[in-house]
């Protein structure tokens, strides 16, 4: 994007985008070449360097959406409304990637692409909730301006983070094929270059997530402005039509 052309870019997003791309190049080197294969999982462990970061960020996106939904219900401000939609949409992309990579990793490791396991099932439910939240927002959006919008979408948004808690603890609460916590425990079950690569993956995908979220937020903000301008123009046109009609009727009656 050229700096002079109208867009959702700014100096900060260009820096963030550059860092994301450089980080992604470094991550690809570590994930696919420099880090060793796992003794049990062999080279399929390399999929974990995209699966785990996207899962963490999908959960982060749900936390932001739930916060934005709560703040929207309280304050009814446009910024929270736009942030909720942006975080949910980016979160939907990351949740989808998490499910796809988990499925691809599961085939060589567990011998199956899919299992009705508590972790996989609750993550799929999270994906469906995100789709539902975004769909309900569209209906709410048709209600007009900020003060008139319904709250159905926001109520679904409130359910997202509690479901993340269920996803996280599902491997402890129920019998699960999915492995238990690896890096969120005090003695991580992964170390050396593999741990470094995983941490690098989390850092790089966090940059990508932040970059996408900022652009999506700005796009949402512009959508609101364009819709508002469109409504105002429609009102002006309607008033002009009505005035013309009245003048014509007056002319006929004379």
């Amino acid at each position: 994007m050229s700096p002079g052309h109208p867009s959702t870019s700014s100096r900060a997003t260009r820096v963030l985008g550059g860092l994301s791309l450089a980080g992604l190049a470094l991550l690809l080197g570590y994930a696919l070449v420099w880090s060793p294969a796992d003794q049990v999982q062999k080279d399929s462990v390399r999929i974990m360097y995209v699966h785990v970061p996207t899962a963490i960020l999908a959960f982060g996106a749900c936390a932001i959406t739930t916060l934005a939904a709560a703040m929207w219900l309280r304050k009814r401000s446009e910024g929270w409304w736009v942030l909720g939609g942006a975080a949910a949409e980016v979160g939907l992309v990351f949740t989808g990637i998490c499910l796809i990579t988990g499925s691809i990793w599961g085939r060589p490791t567990w011998g199956t692409y899919w299992d009705w396991d508590p972790r996989i099932t609750s993550t799929t439910l999270l994906f469906i909730l995100l789709v539902g939240y975004l769909a309900l927002r569209r209906i709410d959006n048709e209600s007009g301006d900020a003060a008139q919008r319904g709250s159905r979408g926001a109520i679904v948004g409130l359910l997202l983070f509690p479901n993340v808690v269920v996803v996280h603890y599902s491997v402890d609460w129920w019998r699960s094929l999915h492995q238990k916590a690896t890096i969120t425990r005090l003695d991580p079950t992964i170390e050396g270059t593999m741990l470094f690569t995983l941490m690098l993956g989390i850092a790089v995908f966090s940059l990508i997530f932040a970059w996408l979220l900022v652009h999506r937020f700005r796009t949402g903000w512009l959508e609101e402005r364009a819709e508002h301008a469109g409504l105002e123009q429609a009102l002006v046109d309607r008033r002009a039509e009505a005035a013309t009609g009245t003048a014509a009727a007056g002319g006929t009656s004379r």
Binding site: S7, A31, I47, V93, W105, P108, L212, L222, A229
Partner: protein, 48 residues
């Protein structure tokens, strides 16, 4: 150079699909933002 890697197809799909999805979503978001930025007056672009 020979790369001895097990599960090559799974690793390729496990990285290729996410990168393709992210690239497609990025292009879509940037294009949509650009279209809207042209329609909305510059004073509404708080970031520029």
């Amino acid at each position: 150079m020979t790369i001895a890697m097990t599960h090559v197809g799974y690793v390729a799909a496990g990285w290729g699909i996410p990168l393709a999805v992210l690239a497609a979503y990025t292009v879509r978001t940037l294009r949509r933002g650009r279209e809207l930025a042209e329609r909305v007056p510059p004073e509404e672009h708080r970031w520029s």
